[in-house]
């Protein structure tokens, strides 16, 4: 039911790796290490600045894929993959967008399921890719019924 969405992508959105947000995020995952939050520690580190935890891109906005109408409830996040060229630096600007990489359906012992593969990208100001993300989002029979209603 989402097959025609494959290849659709969002417009790039400007995001900033904000110091306050990194601190809040690091605390929320119980990892308030000084490499993330202490400015002096960051300056003296090999990076010369603070970095962000690897799952921090959860905070970013990636823009909307206009045609893709997903319910905001009842979807299952099945898998999550991050690939980094380097860590994210606190204070830097990252341009993010997302695309529907694939869609397929399966009928197994748990009934009908739809799998949407979303790819998410983060680039620096020069257009150089810093990270890529892949999310597998599962649509169950129950959610599908809501969608077609």
């Amino acid at each position: 039911m989402f097959k025609e969405m494959i290849g659709k992508r969002s417009e790039k959105v400007k995001n900033i790796v904000e110091r306050g947000m990194v601190k809040k995020f690091a605390e929320a995952i119980g990892d308030p290490h000084p490499i993330f939050i202490d400015e002096v520690y960051g300056k003296q580190s090999r990076y010369g600045k603070n970095i962000a935890p690897p799952t921090f891109p959860r905070v970013f906005e990636y823009g909307e894929i206009e045609e893709l109408q997903l319910p905001n409830k009842g979807l299952i996040h099945g898998e999550q993959i991050y690939h980094y060229k380097r860590p994210l630096f606190v204070g830097e600007t990252i341009y993010c967008y997302t695309e529907v990489a694939d869609y397929y359906e399966k009928t197994g012992k748990n009934g009908w399921m739809g799998f949407i593969i979303l790819k998410l990208y983060g680039e620096d100001a020069e257009g150089e890719n810093i990270f890529t993300e892949e999310q597998v989002v599962i649509i169950t029979e129950t959610v599908r019924k809501e969608l077609v209603r």
Binding site: M21, K24, F25, E27, A28, I29, G30, D31, H33, I35, F36, S45, R46, Y47, I51, P53, P54, T55, R58, V59, N72, K73, G74, I76, H77, G78, E79, Q80, I81, Y82, H83, Y84, R86, P87
Partner: protein, 134 residues
């Protein structure tokens, strides 16, 4: 602290056992991440979907699991982090974070990682490829 590069295949990082999961943990994560799906914070919404109560954000658990590597982030960085969300995490659950080095190929170290609940079930599992700096 031991350097990560000194590890050999089959070696494990020190396990970390978290405090029992509380509602406040999930409210904090919702606020910090911007993921306000009510299934993670409001019981009634979770029950509407047939769950006994709220469940943790999978990304909260994934975020927690990565901290096994945080002490080594000046030695290298997490290049690939792959997770399958295989089980649900409920309030009061006690998670233990684990990482085991599977293979070392030059500067790349491939770890099997998992968060295991108090019943011994892996609630998330996957791999971390840690790239050390030369």
């Amino acid at each position: 602290m031991k350097q990560l590069a000194e590890l050999r295949s089959g070696d494990v990082l020190d396990e970390k056992t978290l405090e029992p999961v509380t509602r406040l943990d999930l409210i904090k994560y919702a606020g910090a991440s911007g993921d306000y799906n009510p299934i993670h914070t409001i019981d009634e919404e979770a029950k509407k979907l047939g769950l006994p109560g709220i469940i943790a954000h999978g990304m909260w658990t994934m975020g927690n699991l990565a901290k096994l590597f945080t002490p080594y982030l000046e030695e290298g960085f997490i290049q690939d982090y792959t997770i399958r969300f295989s089980g649900m995490v409920f309030l009061g659950d006690v998670l233990t974070l684990q990482a085991k080095l599977q293979e070392k190929d030059g500067e790349k170290m491939d770890f099997h990682v998992a968060a295991v609940n108090q019943s011994g079930t892996e609630v998330i599992k996957g791999n971390v490829v840690f790239q050390t700096y030369t």
